[in-house]
Symmetry: D2
Subunit: 428 residues, 4 copies
């Protein structure tokens, strides 16, 4: 299987039209090696078929960008029912768990749909005076939306392939890992200190952000310290060997119940059936567990229990954001093509962006002063602000242009199929 | 969409090899118009993807016929895990509800698997002295097994397509229905009388039968009468209009609870969203409800409630078998290519075979003296003899060569996605 | 705790009034040692509080016997809602699983309800010319109905007390068991032979019977043989030690799934937490497992698997009935006050009646010619004739006057809290 | 039924021993009119029987106060298994949903248990030099713990009685409501303004508090405004009449799904079966809905949807606490004996304490710097800090001595059986 994650060439500065076309092409590149069968199956209600992602991201542009343009005609009116994700304001839709049953239209028609939508949006952006601000805003939202689904395509395909006893491979040419030169030689964890004080939080300034990243506001922080790197598989194994999954005092009450009910005793994708030599399923197929890689595919409950076991805690999202506010966005993101967390390459690397999303101790709530957008787009973020935890920093399957210090990802605490891991914090 | 149900030419008498090849080809013909996506999706745990049926029927020949031949090598050893249905003696297997996640191997490889298996079995049958009795018996079983899955392919594809809001069509060239010349002019139901007595039941004589059809034995019947035709949609509508679904006194206790919990108020595939003009989903797409067609896709609970409402009852399987024992097997079976029940064409037609499976009042139990086969094949029928009801007579998607008077089909009483309907009985 | 099961003196012949009064008093005697708390709790949806049984059996007489008498006034009109079991024709009622929430009216009021109903029915029976046939029939039904609930009171109280870690005792003065003098010395199982032929089945003649025991009819039996005694705990232990619960080939498909889902590996009430020395919870508290006692509290699935393991099978209900048709009703029934199965006392004892209900291989279906009664009483038996298996012979908590050769008890195959065990059969 | 909520006389200042004895007596007074049946039943897994509360609060003192004193002997060792609520460090315990099955020991023994524990703790407090600080701290915790269970006894008994079709009464002598003189004449809602700034949050200073109320810390607030009174039934009815329960745009995503799955269309305990004249079930039995009373028994989801509909929002817990920080604790608390929210008596009353717990928009998270206690008591609060929302202010069934400005109550967002209502907030 040829590796389908080739970084798209990116002009600098890039016009909105160029960015739009690049992102659209990137999505298709990610699916290039998936058969119609691979692209059609749904492995669990939380995951969606790649075909659905391909269609839904086009429906998003069609609905929010194209439908108000003169002479608009829907590609196929039924698509609103099939490919609306969760917008109540836009009417009824296929039940989430039934997305894998949409065998008609065929995948080929979805690619045609993409072509038509891409061409029409690109044409809109091709004007003498440049697009209006309103159009720019909607296309930028659509592009960022599509980048979110690029990550979901990879997490969902991984989950699907991970069900199979045949250990199928999404991409056989993933780069080999470098020898672990650094991390295990470290004198355990190093923490960087931050002083107490009132700090700015939230997105401010130019550049795209989602509504949930604002308004920018002040937040008072106690003095704290943050781990300079991510927790590794080797460290997590120590927790496991110390009975971490059986010691109730380390767990939240909901977490311990979840663990028992679902018989969880190791991160997702770890196959312990071969005894001590743990195999890990990756998008490049099964590999032996690399002790120095960041631990990945753990739930909030596991991250929280690990932190408590280690004598530390998880950072709040404000602590995290304050610490990385002035860091450049760089790291093991989608464009490295690894599609897997990477061992630390230097003691100066702090893995803030990429590798794994970092669970924070913060429940996903509106920022002070937050107001949802009007209309259907008001449903984009605001209606999910309950029963979820915030994750920060992006992962090895997040596009680089998509992530920033103020970015708030969110999932329910039991979520494991996302590339999520652990950074420690403590009070000074 | 071209109609893929073309009756295969059938020599008479047909050698076992010819029958084997014809049945294998027929299975593929039924799937000819299904895309890889259509063939891969699973609409509910009880239904399987067409692709799985294509593979499983080949695995059956490979496992029970080929694996004991000299020089045997499995096509791919993992297929045992993927395509074993329920044979505990043959090891672990994919969970039933996860058959839709087998996107690898691709459908094309399954067709290759079929070609290899078909060729090798055909070769085995091609001997100077003819196959041994043991080989004949296993191939006959495999052929009958494959015919069962032909019916399941059609019921399962219908269920999958029936989920879609787009009303997709399995086959667009189904024959149009003749005008209803007869049934509604009938003076209601006519019953044929049978005298009390000790009668032979069960398969006896030459020709293939499943183990659950024997041993042949004696059974004492009271005098009874059997409806000369099937209950129609129009008659069933009267039951509905008389509040049949709301009148607890007409229902079994389990049935009334099932009805409430599942909010059932009409046969499966009836779409009443358009008011009085009921649309029915068929393998040829939606059609207006034809009042004179046999009612179809009802559960045992509904059949039983209808019978009670009409002042009659369902026949026992012995009553049914005694009545049709000497009838020729003819009717609206798979080979008519209609794939849907048919209106009565003459008063002399009694619809014993084909159209719809007829729910009987008999729980599925072993016949007196029944013993299961040794080995894995002992699991074929015997281990299901609990919590199921017997159906008789075959349906419009049953191959003609497959059905006979002694044939016992069985499903749990809440089953609706099979082509099942109603014949009435009463005591004389 | 004083033993509350004292056999009531029984005149012979006994008038209907005397029988009525004796049965009513017996019910109360069974509950004499239960506190209001014990009598009010419901340990699972299938079981009911003793208080509910006390009330429901009175409601039955009030509804079916008293409500049509001149000047009738309900004791309290709301009782129809609270204490109707399942009669749809009589209106809405408390959900089955919520019977334990009826803390008002208090238990004392329920006893008052009983006194009022008992007095009024007794008065009706006290007429110069004797009760009418219609009245007799209804009172006889009510008396038999109440006897069924006597058994349920004991099975349901056992289930409730069995939940407690304190091993509470229903009755501390149960008779000690005699030393096991006989059974284990037997040369395994002995089978009694019966010839093939057309035999009469079902209740015929005078004396009360339930509608499901008729009509009497003919049934053809193959030659068969029936175990002369029940299967013992010691024999069942051998099945367990031979891996019986893990060997799929011994089980029905539904049964093996049930076993896995419910993690079943021994009969209900066996406590194996102490290792080899199994403790068994009884109505007299925990006791060491007695190897020679009949095994009890097994499901149909377990009984069927055991029979298959032993090379035999379960009898059909017709085989069972034919064998005991002319036996006197005697054995370890409620009146012995043991409330637990008893070891075989002599080789000539065949344990047909009492000790444990015997699972048969027969699904619970209507007999040929069966018609339900008119009105609400038609719901008594007929509407349950689906998804249940027939048990025969009564148990150690069945009143002697209640059981007979034609008596058909029925429960779903997974039922374990009834006193149900195993008798073997085979074809000759 | 005599009203069992008589305010206990309270000396001022009150010694710890006096407070202890008063609280213990108050708990028993609340249960004085409950029969053993009423006290034993459990209406849902989230609620516990009053008997269990009576025992558990004693077990708490026995375990945390008495068990370390010289010569300690447990009242009954099994009680640890029966009456431990959720302390994993203290071993196995009865499943939460099975608390209603503890019919033995009887209620009378639980009262004896209380007497023994009360006497022994009182004796410990009766020392020449006064109790040690450590003992004081544990007894104070036990007293506050018992006050929490007083509230739960009333919410749980209300839920149990509310299941009954007989509309039973916990207390028939509840005070009649005054005529509604004020609220509906108000010009809608009035909001009090608060300036932005860094404010102190959390408990600080002497007096008991739970660990989750600290550490005291600084928090930055935007300028905001808080409703001066609670939302009333009449106002909530307007929301309902405006289609509030059907308009997805008003709801959180989880909330709308919860509403549909549970078929919620009005507050708990509102009986709309009589049409417009809504009956409300109270601890004094059913009453007509009083439009001017604060709305009660709504979930967080309903509170949030109402707030959005009204153009406002729910306050954060910091906003709430800052606003009431200097208010005296007064209001319709347990000691008024009303056991039901009360209409506003004067425009100057702001209902901050008592009447109903007020849902805040804050997820229940640890305060900055929070550390759990060592040992089993560390499980008291910390392990629940996930998936719950904070409520503030106490209710009509909260003891006055128990509530304060910094008090944090918490429940999952779907909770309805607590006395919880709505106060509005908005940004200035």
């Amino acid at each position: 299987v040829r590796c389908s994650v080739e970084p798209m060439l990116r002009a600098s500065p890039e016009t909105l039209q160029a960015r739009f076309l690049r992102v659209r092409a990137q999505t298709e590149a990610l699916c290039a090696e998936l058969s119609a069968e691979d692209a059609g199956a749904q492995s669990m209600p939380d995951a969606s078929p790649a075909k659905w992602h391909l269609a839904h991201t086009s429906w998003f542009f069609e609905t929010f960008v194209l439908s108000n343009t003169p002479g608009f005609r829907a590609f196929r009116p039924e698509y609103g029912y099939l490919f609306n994700s969760y917008y109540e304001a836009l009417g009824a839709r296929v039940a989430r768990a039934a997305r894998g049953l949409i065998t008609r239209p065929p995948l080929s028609e979805i690619y045609e749909y993409r072509r038509v939508v891409t061409a029409r949006v690109a044409e809109l952006l091709e004007t003498a005076h440049g697009p209006t601000d309103a159009l720019r805003a909607l296309v930028e939202l659509g592009v960022n939306h599509e980048e979110q689904h690029q990550e979901l395509i990879l997490t969902d395909v991984k989950h699907l392939l991970g069900q199979s006893p045949l250990a199928p491979v999404y991409c056989s040419s993933l780069p080999a890992e470098p020898a672990a030169a650094v991390s295990m030689a470290l004198p355990a964890h190093v923490f960087r200190e931050f002083a107490a004080g009132l700090v700015p939080i939230g997105h401010d300034g130019p550049g795209f952000s989602f509504d949930n990243e604002g308004p920018a506001h002040l937040h008072y922080l106690l003095a704290y310290a943050l781990g300079t790197r991510l927790v590794t598989n080797g460290e997590y194994l120590e927790f496991m060997r110390d009975g971490g999954y059986e010691r109730a005092e380390l767990w939240l009450s909901d977490g311990f119940r979840w663990k028992k009910q679902n018989d969880v005793s190791r991160p997702l994708y770890w196959d312990a059936s071969t005894g001590e030599l743990v195999q890990v399923f990756t998008l490049g197929g099964p590999r032996p567990l690399a002790l120095d890689e960041p631990v990945c595919h753990v739930s909030y409950y596991e991250a929280d229990a690990y932190a408590r076991w280690s004598g530390a805690r998880l950072p709040s999202e404000a602590e995290w954001e304050h610490a990385v506010r002035h860091e450049a966005v760089d790291g093991n993101l989608l464009e490295t093509g690894r599609l897997h967390p990477r061992v630390l390459r230097a003691l100066t690397e702090n893995q803030s962006f990429g590798d794994v999303w970092e669970w924070t101790s913060s429940a996903y709530s509106p920022y002070p002063g937050y107001r949802t957008l009007d209309g259907a787009l008001g449903e984009y973020n605001g209606k999910f602000m309950c029963n979820q935890m915030v994750l920060r920093g992006g992962s090895c399957v997040t596009p680089r242009a998509h992530i920033r210090a103020s970015y708030r990802n969110f999932f329910p605490p039991e979520t494991r199929w996302q590339f999520a891991g652990i950074r420690l914090a403590r009070y000074s």
